[in-house]
């Protein structure tokens, strides 16, 4: 896929936003520049030569598993760790040698790190008092901030008298009160239960838009990254594997790692047998048929590639569909009913399992597919992606 195609695609989906996002404008000055940053712990490379530009008002998510280096990168930005090499530039200022307490950056900790001996209001006021802000102003700004996170009535409580969701909001208020240029959030919703997490996600976006602060969020939860982010940087082994808008990361993963890490995916290994400018034909033993994809790739002839198809992009039917390409036969091996949708495990003749999800259109259980039924699986040729790495 060419970059112009990509651009076209992303601009069309964010068409409701009046202007073109900064990261698509040529020559736009990034707000946070990470230049070739490497961090070694002894022999172990936690962050491996990362370069990344983040623009003003972005809500950038670093997504990765544990040990991927995402938290280390965040701690380097906050100043708790110093990079072994490379530069961090925030709003045009090089952060080298600037201590955490002097950086225009605040952090919301995963554990919230609320001071247990201070009241909610004193926790929020902590940063302002260190700046020597006048008493009256501190009081006023704290009240304002507590109102914003809907904790106006709880200022006198101690952190251990609050619920998890309330603590999370105190931590947010505390990290925002100094009006930082850059807010770092380490797994901000990780400690909340599912329902609360969903509500808080939108609250967080609203606050970010209202205050116009640039957010960098670290998370291992792909759903969280999808809903929150303007852009996602997927990290693995200290490297950013892909940086793109959420839908691009999901629909056009650039590697097997990203495809498998973000959402679930079916992969078919195969060899390219025909490589035309706008389509490829792949012979795949795993699929048992030849596969067609309607975008070109750049690869060596006879290279082994993987075709990736998301479970929800696959159609499942009892009767043989009309299309002749990208159509395979199998037997339903297992069904998981999940309420809004059902997940099917379909076994192909050669033993490969394919995962298919179908919305539960109808209520009647009898009309649905059942165990050991013979079915056809098919998908459009523009639904799949060919991955060379």
């Amino acid at each position: 896929m060419t970059s112009s195609q990509l651009n076209e695609l992303s601009t069309s989906t964010v068409a409701n936003v009046a202007e073109v996002p900064l990261w698509k404008q040529d020559g736009a000055e990034p707000f946070l520049k990470i230049e070739n940053v490497t961090k070694m712990f002894g022999e172990f490379t936690a962050v491996d030569n990362i370069s990344l530009d983040i623009y003003k008002n972005e809500l950038f998510c670093l997504l990765g598993g544990s040990g991927s280096g995402k938290s280390t990168l965040l701690r380097i930005l906050a100043g708790f760790e110093s990079a072994s090499s490379g530069r961090i530039i925030i709003d045009g200022v090089d952060m080298a040698g600037i201590q955490p307490w002097k950086r225009p950056v605040n952090m919301m900790f995963q554990s919230y790190a609320l001071f247990p001996h201070l009241s909610v209001a004193d926790n929020v006021a902590f940063g302002l008092r260190r700046e020597g802000v006048a008493r009256g102003e501190v009081k006023q700004r704290v009240a304002q901030m507590l109102d914003m996170v809907q904790l106006g009535a709880l200022g006198k409580r101690k952190p251990n008298q609050l619920s998890g969701g309330q603590r999370q909001r105190v931590a947010l208020a505390r990290s925002l009160i100094k009006r930082p240029k850059l807010l770092l959030l380490d797994e901000p919703l990780g400690a909340l239960d599912k329902k609360l997490r969903e509500e808080t996600q939108f609250e967080l976006i609203n606050i970010q838009e209202e205050l116009g602060v640039t957010f960098v969020v670290v998370t291992h939860d792909q759903e969280e990254a999808m809903t929150l982010a303007t852009r996602i940087g997927v990290m693995n082994n200290g490297v950013i594997v892909q940086t793109a808008e959420p839908h691009v990361v999901y629909e056009y993963p650039n590697s097997r790692f990203v495809a498998e890490f973000v959402g679930s995916v079916n992969l078919f290994e195969g060899k390219v047998v025909e490589d035309l400018p706008d389509s490829v034909r792949i012979r795949s033993k795993e699929a048992g048929v030849e596969l067609f994809v309607n975008h070109g790739i750049s690869c060596a002839p006879n290279q082994t590639v993987h075709m990736a198809i998301r479970p929800e992009k696959i159609k499942i039917s009892r009767n043989k569909p009309e299309q002749t390409e990208n159509c395979i036969q199998g037997i339903i091996e297992d069904i998981a009913y999940m309420g809004s949708l059902s997940v099917f495990k379909v076994r192909l003749a050669n033993g490969k399992d394919v995962r298919v999800t179908q919305p539960n259109f109808v209520r009647d259980m009898g009309a649905r597919f059942t165990w050991h039924e013979q079915v056809y699986l098919s998908w459009d040729m523009d639904s799949s992606v060919v991955l060379t790495s």
Binding site: A78, G79, F80, Q99, P100, W101, K102, V105, N106, M107, F109, S111, A113, L114, F115, P116, H117, F126, G127, R130, E131, K158, N160, R174, S175, K178
Partner: protein, 330 residues
């Protein structure tokens, strides 16, 4: 202790399902009788309870009673409170408040109480100042190192207290090691008089009770979440500010516990002032000892003990209780 209190010995009384079906009515009645009094549980409560009642609680009543009698040349050396005159069928009941009146009239005793509190408080404060850096260093060192350092702190505690105090005598005497060292280096040209002064008593108390200060401090510092310090720095406070704003307030429970653990035994200390202190080092434990062993005035010694109990021990107990309750609340 919130839940699961029915554990252990209470379970004796829970019948198995078949027992309910098989047993006759009288059997069930017997069972219920057994249920009413749970012997195992009662025994476990009663044995230590009785022991403490007899050997810890009643003795105080005895002390109180004897503090109200008069010293006498007899065996035991005090007058009986109740005297029967069988011929006249006449009983005399004598209460002697003289000991207490004397306690408050003679400034010697008052001075001794005040001086005990002063010496104990000052040495508690010094112990805190000496102990804090050590506890802090141990809490912030690598876990493998912590075990070694903690054992080093505790080790002296397992050796005889008396002998450790004695070791300081050799250190502080006129021709002791400290003086020899200072003389040979030329820092002083006259030996310092250190033994048999209040200074030596302070050193002895700090030395003896240092582990009692370090351990609770260490516990408080060790369980502190270090991201709190990062949060403080992130919000603009320098390391020394973070120490006063975060570390110190969070160590307060440890500080209070440590101070109580040092102050309580120090205030009634006898061995340290009598070995290291001078004849003018007034401490109430020593006064009580002398009253008992030298003057053989048991009633007076008892009165000193009762006042000590009311003035020094009770307040400390109340502070401890209040602290315990606060911890339960938070």
């Amino acid at each position: 202790m919130g839940h699961g209190q029915q554990c252990g010995f209470d379970l004796m009384s829970i019948p198995s399902g078949s027992a309910w079906i098989d047993k006759s009515a009288s059997g069930m009645a017997r069972y219920n009788l057994f249920r009413g009094v749970n012997w195992g549980r009662l025994g476990v409560i009663a044995v230590p309870g009785l022991w403490l009642g007899i050997f810890f609680f009643i003795p105080f009543l005895v002390v109180f009673k004897i503090s109200l009698s008069e010293s006498a040349i007899a065996v035991p050396p005090y007058s009986a409170m109740l005297e029967w005159d069988l011929e006249e069928a006449y009983a005399t009941f004598k209460l002697n408040f003289g000991n207490y009146i004397y306690l408050f009239e003679d400034t010697f005793y008052l001075d001794a109480y005040i001086s005990s509190v002063k010496i104990a408080s000052v040495s508690t404060l010094i112990t805190l100042i000496v102990g804090f850096p050590i506890a802090y260093l141990i809490a912030r060192s690598k876990p493998s190192m912590r075990v070694v350092l903690l054992s080093l702190v505790i080790l002296p505690f397992w050796t005889s207290f008396l002998l450790r105090v004695y070791a300081w005598m050799g250190f502080l005497k006129k021709n002791g090691i400290v003086n020899e060292f200072l003389l040979s280096t030329g820092i002083i040209d006259q030996p310092l008089i250190m033994l048999q002064t209040d200074f030596a008593v302070y050193i002895g108390i700090v030395y003896t009770y240092l582990p009692f200060m370090i351990l609770p401090l260490y516990t408080a510092l060790e369980k502190m979440d270090l991201t709190l310090l990062e949060a403080a720095e992130d919000l603009g406070s320098r390391p020394y500010q973070s120490f006063f704003l975060v570390t110190l307030p969070l160590a307060v429970p440890g500080i209070i516990a440590g101070c109580l653990l040092v102050f309580i035994p120090a205030v009634g200390e006898f061995v340290i002032p009598s070995l290291l202190g001078g004849s003018d080092t007034l401490m109430i434990g020593r006064v009580l000892w002398d009253e008992f062993f030298l003057n053989r005035d048991w009633p007076m010694a008892s009165a000193v003990a009762i006042v000590m109990l009311v003035v020094l021990v009770l307040p400390v107990m109340l502070i401890r209780n209040a602290q315990g309750k606060e911890e339960v609340h938070s």
